[in-house]
Symmetry: C2
Subunit: 151 residues, 2 copies
DNA sequence: TATTGTTATACTCTATAACTATA
DNA sequence: TATAGTTATAGAGTATAACAATA
């Protein structure tokens, strides 16, 4: 098992175990965080679209479909639902009359903020079960995990 | 923002930022790991059921439904699909003739192993972009993340 | 002629309600 | 009477195919 893995330049057998441990923990923790939802009426993809818009500011339906790994007709429907809920705004594209520009409303921004707050609170309450040493290790690793997540 | 959070016993403002960073990174990394699938024909819940069986050895459909946060009729269908694919085995319950016992086959075990291998390889290739210091921080944090994921 | 987005339609996954068998 | 699991049916969410408008 675990053969044929790309060697880390600084790696050895301990790294294989560390990678495995990291993968397992990140996936499980990610799943549990996802369950801490603030609005049950939004589908995972709808939430994800709002998150993307929060990062990018605005995007066309086609761009959103590619980023969310969803087909264009699905994104048409998702954007229409989000618009009906008052969470996104659609405007004509300045250069290309075929395209549209989708951006988030202030209501969406507030909802995302509340969602982050709730998940942070849940994670923080979990972290209370850790001792100071463990917590220090997590604090040190957090920026590295962020770097990894954006690579 | 981020007010009304439960205080960590050893916490301060730096912890709020760390929790936020941790949450964001874990969720994003988890999503990207999930996309590294070995078998497109298995739904997320089917994969999750196999993972649960791998940990628990065996379970009844009712237990699986509770663990996967799915209603019993949905689990009936999922178990039937997995059985048709040769990934689980159904046996009568020894003490209660209403219940059944579901366990994974060797084929499922092999598939899960391949899935872990693939995701580990992807994560390891990402980690090659880190320097030795950062990697050491991740290695130190991995067991803590595992502890957190199981709390 | 290629591209962006939409409409029409079908498939997958999950839920609720009603049913059967066993405790 | 309560519980485990199933069947029947409906509702989301997404995909593919065919189409309209614009580049």
């Amino acid at each position: 098992m675990l053969t044929n893995m790309p060697d880390l330049s600084h790696g050895d057998d301990i790294d294989v175990a560390a990678v495995n441990s990291l993968r397992s923990a990140v996936m499980r923790l990610g799943r549990r965080l996802k369950h801490q939802r603030v609005d049950e009426s939004l589908s995972p993809t709808e939430m994800s679209v709002l998150g993307t818009l929060a990062r990018c500011g605005h995007a066309t339906p086609g761009e959103l479909a590619r980023k969310e790994h969803v087909q264009p007709p699905s994104m048409t429907r998702i954007v229409a639902l989000l618009e009906a809920k008052g969470l996104v705004r659609l405007e004509p594209h300045p250069d290309d009359r075929r395209q549209k520009v989708v951006s988030q409303t202030e209501q969406a921004e507030a909802m995302l903020e509340e969602s982050r707050r709730r998940r942070n609170a849940w994670l923080a309450s979990l972290a209370e079960g850790l001792d100071e040493d463990d917590w220090a290790k997590l604090r040190a690793a957090a920026p590295v995990l962020e770097k990894l997540a954006h690579l």
